[in-house]
Symmetry: C2
């Protein structure tokens, strides 16, 4: 990659993948490294990453993300790789911050780690989509995730077969201001 | 930068800055572009970025982040630039997801945008620190942020005077597993 801004612009939510092309283990490892190195409030690292690449299991996970009624996420079955992010208990100081400031720091932390993950995937020539809507209980059961633990995101990764598209974003003066709101 | 993983490894939370060296406007603009291009649930973009570079005002913001009792964040006054992230109301579909899945998507979204922001800063040769602990009401007052809007993060940016240090992270097998928890 040339520079970070180009990488960030290039990365898009991909919803079509080559189902016959799996992701190389060394790429998976570098992507996970990038996620684990992410900063977090009080360095709590309140996350656990479950790599799902078993063909049968990843199809079952994909089924748990799609919803016939809403007609969403059917594409997830094309992807050879899912990385599930489970929220773990934060450390004492981060937990104190969450309580004192009424801000759920683990959600912010996992957002940061997810960004690292998909940007690392992009840099490896892979497409990705961050999925937040799924049947949490079904995934919990499929992956033996202890009850009580929240499953925040499923990141779908593979070789994209989707064309690049231009991004739609709010106008700059709507979201940026200087020295005041 | 050579590759994303190197950039992610290189970036650290910097807590010492050259107070006499301001950040070039074109760098600020590229950093904001990288933040605005971040993905978000249902493309809600539930954020507003306030750039604070006015010398007097940024010192007042810095005061609102430091806490004498806890002895934290005194370094923030050295930084020439603060970018405050205010949470905006998400769109209908993201709001529905937050309600239906009991997951606060705007926190995840703002985590992703914050990651873009600090990684872009790193790529510009700048240091940064993500601050979540501050006197929210004081900052709201200083920047005329409407009451009711939450101020999630203050990202402190400047030319770092801190040495690189190695990162402490949990062991890999503690946070990563394959095809099951």
């Amino acid at each position: 990659m040339n520079d970070f801004l180009s990488l960030a612009k290039q990365r898009q939510s991909d919803r079509a993948f080559d189902p016959d092309r799996s992701v190389e283990p060394e790429k998976i490892e570098r992507i996970l490294q990038a996620a684990c190195i992410a900063p977090s409030a009080c360095n709590a690292q309140p996350w656990h990453f479950i790599v799902v690449d078993n063909p049968e299991l990843k199809n079952q996970i994909a089924d748990a993300t799609s919803n016939r009624l809403l007609g969403i996420n059917h594409f997830t079955k094309q992807a050879p790789l899912h990385i599930i992010i489970v929220e773990e208990k934060a450390n004492l100081s981060s937990g104190f911050g969450t309580w004192a400031k009424n801000k759920h720091f683990p959600h912010l932390d996992i957002g940061i780690a997810a960004a690292h993950l998909v940007l690392a995937a992009e840099d490896e020539g892979l497409g990705s989509c961050i999925i937040g809507w799924f049947d949490e209980n079904k995934i919990r059961q499929l992956l033996n995730i202890p009850s009580g633990k929240r499953i925040l995101l499923d990141i779908v990764i593979g070789y994209s077969t989707q064309n690049d598209r231009s991004k739609k974003r709010k106008k700059t003066d709507e979201v940026i201001s200087y020295n005041g709101y």
